[in-house]
Symmetry: C2
Subunit: 341 residues, 2 copies
């Protein structure tokens, strides 16, 4: 079905001639064609208009020819559907004017019918699949329940998500109620995404690394694993946790198709900690794309040699930064395509 199935084969652990490559946040602010759309339409208009979301999703594929597309969307569409107001403020980021901090706040949080509340996402998937014309697979994503919870409680981005953690440690029962509601909504949402056409799922646990190993198991991994278990027969699930090196052993034993690695964990440590047999994805430092293109090429080839070409998906260790020159992003992608052992 899919013409370039390199990504799907790497997720299955098949032997390949070179690893596939895509970049987290590849449909983003470093692209001038993205900025043109961004300057015309606000954030949620871009998410909610299938023509815009699909166009944005395709932009990096047209320019660089990655081996996978990832649907333009946001992790905070989930709390929005759960009756938690979310604003996207320019030069600030997400802002939730009524964060969840008490039992009363919690009472107004619903587990929605995602088929109704998030139908614009499935429309965007269908529009994107048409544009993609089966050239490369399409990834759909969600935030981990813990990461979504962080925003719901903190109300905005944070260096340490102290209010979110305070809620967990002073009122763990209520915290688990909210986490479970987010998990159920996310599972239904991802199932609907697969039904609408995405080929692969990725869960982003951006803030799992704020937790101790024990707390991570209790407040984050438990819920991610529920999602993996619920979705494992629907589509391959990639689990990415930033700063979550300490949980790689547990992740390696899970039914995730692949584990995302950030740039603080060497390939050797990542292979060792995940048990040596899992497909891994990562882990180029996004800031290292500011190095000269020749150096990027050299570092990418070293990275592939370290991870090994099989059971490996080349990616950054987190999202691409807005200040990366497009020819540096191109150097990253081209370096993978020119790799020949």
């Amino acid at each position: 079905m899919i013409k370039n199935d390199l990504f799907l084969r790497a997720l299955k652990g098949e032997v390949v001639t070179r690893p596939p490559v895509w970049m987290m946040r590849q449909a983003g602010r470093y692209l001038p064609e993205f900025m043109q759309i961004k300057n015309k339409y606000d954030f949620f208009t871009r998410c909610r208009t299938p023509e815009l979301a699909s166009e944005i999703t395709l932009q990096p594929i047209r320019r660089f020819g990655m081996d996978a597309a990832i649907l333009f969307c946001d992790i905070l569409v989930i709390p929005q559907a759960m009756n938690i107001e979310v604003e996207m403020k320019s030069n600030f980021g997400p802002f939730l004017p009524n964060p969840i901090r008490t039992q009363k706040d919690l009472d107004r949080v619903i587990v929605p019918d995602v088929n109704i509340e998030l139908d614009y996402v499935y429309k965007a998937i269908k529009a994107t699949k048409e544009l993609l014309n089966n050239e490369v697979p399409l990834i759909g994503f969600a935030g981990s329940p813990w990461t979504v919870f962080c925003y719901c409680v903190q109300g905005q981005g944070s260096k340490n998500f102290d209010k979110a953690k305070a809620f967990c440690f002073s009122n763990p029962i209520a915290a688990h109620v909210l986490l479970q509601k987010i998990t159920e909504t996310t599972i239904a949402y991802l199932k609907a995404k697969v039904k609408a056409g995405v080929d692969v799922l990725q869960i982003f646990d951006s803030w799992g690394g704020m937790l101790s190993p024990n707390d991570y198991q209790e407040f984050s991994w438990k819920y991610i694993n529920q999602i993996i278990e619920a979705l494992k027969n629907d589509a391959p699930v990639i689990s990415f946790g930033k700063g979550c090196w300490f949980a790689l052993h547990e992740m390696g034993k899970s039914n995730a198709a692949a584990i995302g690695i950030d740039w603080t964990c060497s390939a050797r440590n990542a292979r060792y900690l995940t048990g040596g047999n899992k497909t891994l994805q990562g882990n180029f430092d996004p800031s290292r794309l500011l190095s000269p293109p020749d150096e990027i090429k050299k570092m990418v080839h070293e990275m592939i040699n370290s991870f090994g070409k099989d059971k490996y998906v080349v990616n950054l260790g987190h999202g691409i930064l807005p200040n990366i020159p497009v020819d540096h992003a191109k150097a990253f992608i081209d370096a993978v395509k020119s790799y020949n052992g």
Copy 2:
């Protein structure tokens, strides 16, 4: 000389009946008596007035009886002495109006005579030693060169210090010049601190965890190790790197008297990665002080059992947060004192 030398003995690796305890940022905003002084005097007045700095340093010792005091000061007194303007904005944090981003910026950075520029620190040390009356040892601290560099280039706090990293990766030669200048200033400063009376030194690498393992060696550890080597015969040096688990093996081989551990690294991993023979310090999650006092006590005892009572200094995994109730801080300290294997 020092009546309670538990901390010094733990740093030497001697067998003790219980581990010593102190808390990073123990002289800080969670204390009402600190807030009284904070409301009257601005940040740099508190640092520069020996009567205030020494009073603030003693406050937590009087209230809780930790096994070590740490001189109230700031890591940014170093760039200030190097001719880089530093402001402390309320509800914002440090702000450097003229950050270092070009060769021209770099040219105006000096390696100062720290005996003159930072004489107020040594006066504060002498005043503090008098107040302490040899009850417990006094720690003096500095930021790691990389962490100080981050502020000098970024100009303020940041989630990812993208501008600081961009400077390193696009202009590594200039970056190393600045890092070396900071290192030299820091070494002279710490030598003068020991001469003025501090018993132990701690280096804080708050932002080392933003770097990949290779970049950490090149841009951070190399300079921290210069400091350790230069000071090892002057006083015990504790090296604390937040998020730097990936460098613990290297740190374990260094001449640091102890290695600070953050809460994402389990005691078992920390012992394994540092080689099993180093004094370790840490690593209670600061947010976990929001748990009920009974639970804090239980978790502290578990933590001591995990690290083992010897070659161990009980501490948090990072600074205490402003919103921690004082009786929770007390529960933390008391739990260590009541520990009996």
